[in-house]
């Protein structure tokens, strides 16, 4: 039995009077890739934001057995949760290098520069552009930067919010290849929100489908892939 990185029970979230999540239950086992599928407005982004206490929530969120539903965002980051928000979430007016450095904001150790070099090695495009402003990068480069920035805090759980959004198919494939590699080589746990269900289910171990703020369906990725309802709604079959 694998340990649970994340265990969420009865998660509600609201923006003002609008209730976006209406009681979600889901689990992310340690070392797994879990994907959340859903249409626009189903509450996928809100789910990830709720995990980092970026919106008003109720319910319990347990990370490795500790309740983090009331913790401050900064403390959740310190626990090892890195969040790549939708639309990249880079700092356009900061250089590529500064974007990576701010990713290590919560770290106190001396290995930050070594980590910068490490990610530059893995993403050589970023090293070529280390002194350019992030806002001047292409969409794919910005997504790489956002991911590398998130990894700078040495996370144990990576939250990815529609990383494929607005990217060319070849770049998406390359990106997912890297995610897959990261998961296999470092055992990094990932919770991925996607509309590109095909690629996401290929990589994932387990999947949830949310509709109108509730879990409509869940199961192992293979099983979801072959589910007629999922095929019709998300795989274009």
């Amino acid at each position: 039995m694998t340990e649970l990185m994340l265990k969420v029970e009865d998660l509600h979230a609201r923006y003002g009077a609008v209730e976006v999540l209406r009681g979600l239950d889901f689990e992310v086992p340690d070392g797994n890739v879990v994907v959340i599928l859903g249409a626009n407005g189903a509450g996928k982004t809100t789910t990830l934001r709720a995990l980092c206490n970026m919106c008003t929530t109720s319910g319990t969120i347990e990370m490795e057995g500790d309740d983090i539903s009331r913790a401050k965002t900064a403390d959740i980051v310190r626990r090892g949760v890195a969040h790549v928000p939708q639309g990249r979430g880079t700092f356009p007016e900061l250089s590529v290098l500064d974007n990576l450095k701010i990713g290590a904001y919560t770290r106190k150790d001396k290995d930050v520069n070594a980590d910068v070099d490490r990610w530059f090695e893995i993403f050589p495009r970023l090293e070529e552009r280390r002194d350019q402003l992030a806002g001047s990068l292409s969409g794919g480069e910005q997504q790489m930067l956002a991911v590398a920035r998130a990894l700078m805090c040495r996370p144990r759980l990576l939250l990815l919010d529609e990383p494929s959004l607005g990217l060319a198919p070849l770049i998406i494939e390359d990106l997912f290849e890297r995610f897959s590699q990261l998961n296999k080589e470092t055992g990094l746990t990932m919770l991925l929100v996607e509309q590109n269900a095909n690629l996401a289910l290929d990589m994932a171990d387990y999947g949830y489908v949310i509709e109108s703020g509730e879990i409509a369906l869940h199961g192992p990725a293979e099983q979801l892939k072959n589910d007629p309802a999922v095929q019709e709604a998300y795989l274009g079959a």
């Binding site: 970026m54 965002t73 900064a74 639309g87 880079t90 700092f91 356009p92 007016e93 701010i102 904001y105």
Partner: protein, 352 residues
């Protein structure tokens, strides 16, 4: 038309002196605008308060002038951060109107409180760059009359060289020396050079703080993308408080540098300066620190050379001198109409 070019350098020097002060105050405005995209109308009054701290410590308590300025800057930093914590942070940062109204209210409250404590009379202060080498402790000091309003200086030969305010009483005048160099026939006052140096040092300090420190990096990150900054663990509230503290420090520096040129401190000393600083910040692009400084110098030059020299001296129209403030408003209007991002501001590109 009377093209009196002989006195033009004087006007240029004055313009660049005033401009450096506007630039310093504009830095304070821009620091807060960068982080929150709102204009802090209390910037000038917080700076005025800082100048009064210098007055209290130096003139009333007899501390060394530079120590007084340093302490006043530190106290201003604490006040700026406290204002942010108590009056700004409780409000939704995306809803600008309440916060702008709060800064306007602060403006009125600080002005009234200062007026109540110190009344509206101009109180003479010591000039950090008045006469060489005044920055040495126990060095030369201005002689002032008992009510603190009249001051005058004598040069080494005992001649009266400058009357700072009011009529000079030769009995009161002692010592000191010249307060200026002669450059191309014009007076380049030590005070002017000192103001430039003050601004330059402030810029260097700011570049180091923002560019080399972790708090500075966090401040730039929050300015660039507040949501992502939170997601990497930055405490955005505390970082904005840090921005307010920095802004108050620069405001106080600007006010302390300009006070002697205004004849001293009084609660209304920053009113017009804030308008010019707003024009400077708008011209520079509101979110550009370098732009604020260049904007300040340009506004100072326009005011001094275009309005005072060209309008009053060349055209011989005395009423031009009352158009200086109107010029600042006109400049803000023109910038906002034709180039909202100013000369150096970021043109925001909305990505959907």
């Amino acid at each position: 038309m009377n093209w009196n070019f002989e006195i033009l350098p004087d006007f240029i020097f004055n313009g660049l002196r005033d401009g450096a002060v506007y630039g310093t105050v504009a830095l304070a405005l821009v620091l807060i605008f960068k982080a929150t995209t709102l204009i802090n109308f209390a910037t000038g009054e917080l700076a005025m308060l800082g100048a009064f701290f210098v007055y209290v410590l130096n003139v009333e308590q007899g501390w060394w002038l530079w120590l007084s300025i340093a302490v006043a800057m530190a106290v201003s930093a604490v006040i700026g951060a406290a204002v942010e914590r108590a009056l700004v942070r409780p409000f939704d940062p995306d809803d600008h109107l309440p916060v702008v109204l709060i800064t306007l209210g602060l403006f009125l409250i600080i002005n009234a409180v200062a007026g109540d404590i110190w009344n509206y009379q101009v109180r003479r202060v010591n000039d950090p760059f008045g006469h060489f080498p005044s920055w040495v402790p126990n060095g030369s000091e201005l002689k002032t009359s008992s009510d603190g309003t009249i001051a005058c200086l004598k040069n080494a030969d005992g001649d009266l060289v400058e009357v700072a305010r009011g009529t000079a009483d030769a009995e009161m005048c002692e010592m000191v020396g010249r307060t200026f160099f002669e450059v191309v026939g014009a007076r380049l006052h030590y005070r002017t050079i000192g103001t430039w140096i003050g601004l330059a040092l402030a810029l260097i300090a700011l570049a180091i703080i923002l560019g080399k420190t972790k708090a500075g990096l966090a401040f730039r990150a929050v300015s660039s993308n507040a949501e992502s900054a939170r997601l990497v663990g930055v405490n955005t509230g505390r970082t904005l408080g840090f921005g307010w503290a920095l802004a108050s420090v620069f405001g106080t520096l600007g006010a302390a540098l300009v006070a002697p040129a205004l004849g001293g401190v009084n609660p209304n000393m920053m009113l017009t300066i804030l308008i010019y600083a707003l024009a400077a910040a708008a011209l520079g692009g509101l979110d550009s620190l370098g732009g604020a400084v260049i904007g300040g110098l340009v506004v100072g030059l326009i005011k001094s050379v275009l309005v005072s020299w060209f309008g009053v001296v060349v055209l011989g129209q005395a009423y031009f001198s009352i158009l200086q403030l109107a010029m600042a408003f006109l400049l803000i209007l023109i910038v906002l109409l034709f180039r909202p991002a100013g000369l150096f501001g970021t043109r925001r590109i909305e990505r959907v």
